[in-house]
């Protein structure tokens, strides 16, 4: 087993939640890298969809935006936003909605709009984009984000995109079309999933070498852990190599994380 960073394993693990043949609606940021990785490894037949209107491109490394021409390569159609957000997503034809998160609360709700008071925010974030649409309509919701306490508050300051809102049947009560989606959050410390009984996130897997205490320390709400505790599968050398080839200049795989690589590798030895 060679060296890898927890950031790299986070991306690889997130990709593992995409199955071959899935229609995946991919948001900006790390989801672009993870879905490209899935397409190059175990899910060659996934249908990559981005909101600019591209359907089923064979993505070239390294797309930096949902409108990057590298995301258009060999698409079967380059259409409109309505084609993909309307006729695929709202129409109910998307298996996986894949988002990066700004703030995620205990019910899996996402805030990408504002920190603090919405009307006069301390920090204004980019906003909703297609994220609310993706979270409303995809059958499975997949979120990838760095695990920091500020990103995991008890309740989001603003719910941009619905998770389970406020409980196990929260989505059904407000009339969302997909009432009980699977919802998985992959971080550099753990994999969190919604417990159907409570509608709240719980730890389903830990990253290798990471303890529940560390995850709890970096999470703003109390976590329960599924038993027995499972660990995320360590990546193969080939997986790590493939991922690095997809981001040779470090667009997503950050230098800080590369420094951590040796540290983490030593921990593993």
């Amino acid at each position: 087993m060679g060296h890898y960073t927890l950031q790299e394993l986070m991306v690889i693990e997130a990709a593992r939640h995409i199955l071959d043949g899935d229609v995946v609606f991919v948001g900006g940021g790390l989801p672009l890298l993870a879905t490209t990785f899935a397409q190059r490894t175990h899910a060659a037949n996934l249908c990559f969809v981005v909101e600019s209107g591209a359907i089923a491109p064979l993505v070239l490394p390294t797309p930096i935006s949902v409108s990057d021409p590298k995301l258009m390569h060999k698409a079967v159609r380059l259409g409109t936003l309505r084609d993909v957000l309307g006729c695929l997503l709202q129409r109910g034809l998307v298996d996986v909605g894949f988002l990066g998160g700004a703030q995620i609360d205990r019910f899996g709700n996402i805030n990408s709009t504002a920190i603090g008071d919405y009307r006069r925010p301390a920090v204004r974030l980019p906003g909703c984009g297609g994220a609310n649409d993706i979270a409303s309509h995809a059958r499975r919701l997949l979120i990838v984000t760095k695990h920091e306490q500020r990103r995991f508050p008890t309740a989001c300051d603003y719910i941009t995109s619905p998770g389970y809102l406020n409980g196990p049947d929260g989505r059904q009560k407000v009339g969302l079309p997909v009432t009980h989606p699977s919802l998985t959050v992959v971080t550099d410390l753990a994999v969190l999933e919604i417990n159907p009984a409570t509608g709240q996130l719980q730890v389903s897997q830990l990253m290798p070498g990471v303890s529940v205490d560390v995850v709890q320390e970096k999470t703003g709400f109390p976590l329960t852990v599924t038993r027995p505790t499972r660990f995320v599968q360590v990546p193969t050398d080939e997986e790590v190599h493939t991922l690095r080839e997809l981001d040779p200049t470090g667009v997503y795989l950050t230098p800080e994380a590369r420094d951590e690589r040796s540290v983490h590798g030593q921990e593993k030895q």
Binding site: M72, T80, P162
Partner: protein
């Protein structure tokens, strides 16, 4: 028609403007520079994934209100002028999702007052509205199905839409190559549309291949030949985005204040035309690189 004439004719104080492009693709930067030079104030902007276009207009102090899905430049950071303006309360912002915005344009282009959607339910997008005299949405019970709540979003019909495309003819027929984002719906919903293009085609070419036409002339008011009109963002099949120039913009936008005023002065006000801006920042060698970069991903 020149870009200067087209902007002077169709944009004025208080205009509502639909902005085309998406993030780092086909953003109508050329027309936006001209709006800034002409100084049309109190603008209302509509769009989906808006980046440099919106940020430039907000940074130049010309915008009163934005209704869009998002403002950002993804890996290049956020739209800093827009963000500061919201944080300081100097512009109004109305947040919708992208599907909500494109549905509003769809209502506009169909000539109906609203469109039903099934997004936004349960979110704070339905809990906050920028002003009391604007009805952001309505919830209704689906008349054809029990226990089904539907969100109605109001039509948008901008005074003028502005897009940069690959090809158009003098008559006003438009060919968009590659992704078209929200542009077809937005343009057909608008009272007027200004199109800048990389190439002007003869109308015979349009008539020989009519299925290639994305938007037909009744929806278009002015066509202006402006090669590289989306620079530093990309135009599919023509040129890639210029990361260095986007970073130059972001460096000024991030800091704001004098640094941003100097940017506007040097790259917008002091360049009487967009071609002069291009000559200043994107020499022929750089253009070849960006053309090659685009061809390599086709």
């Amino acid at each position: 028609m020149t870009l200067r004439d087209a902007i002077a004719r169709f944009v004025g104080r208080g205009s509502s403007i639909g902005l085309g492009g998406q993030n780092i693709g086909r953003v109508p930067v050329g027309p936006v520079h001209e709006i800034i030079r002409q100084g049309h104030r109190d603008l209302v902007l509509y769009g989906c994934n808006l980046s440099i276009s919106m940020d430039l207009l907000v940074g130049a102090g010309l915008v009163r209100r934005c209704e869009s899905g998002t403002g950002n430049l993804e890996r290049f950071g956020t739209t800093f002028c827009w963000r500061r303006a919201i944080e300081s309360g100097s512009i109004e912002v109305e947040d919708y999702s992208h599907l909500a915005m494109v549905s509003r344009f769809l209502a506009g282009e169909m000539g109906v007052p609203f469109m039903p959607i099934k997004s936004l339910l349960g979110s704070d997008i339905l809990n906050h509205c920028s002003r009391t005299d604007f009805k952001k949405f309505e919830l209704i019970a689906n008349p054809w199905k029990n226990d089904d709540i539907v969100v109605l979003v109001p039509a948008v019909t901008p005074d003028v839409s502005i897009i940069h495309v690959q090809k158009a003819d003098a008559m006003g027929n438009v060919i968009i190559e590659g992704f078209a984002t929200h542009e077809p719906e937005m343009v057909r919903a608008s009272q007027h549309t200004i199109v800048t293009c990389e190439e002007v085609l003869d109308t015979d070419e349009i008539r020989n291949d009519p299925e290639r036409t994305t938007i037909a002339f009744p929806h278009v008011s002015a066509v202006v030949h402006q090669p590289w009109g989306a620079y530093p963002t990309s135009t599919y099949r023509y040129y890639d985005y210029d990361a260095d120039e986007i970073r130059r913009y972001q460096a000024a936008a991030r800091v704001g204040g004098d640094a941003y005023r100097r940017y506007l002065h040097e790259y917008v006000y002091e360049c009487p035309t967009f071609d002069q801006y291009l000559a200043k920042v994107c020499p022929p060698g750089r253009r070849e690189e960006l053309e090659l970069s685009m061809r390599s991903v086709l």
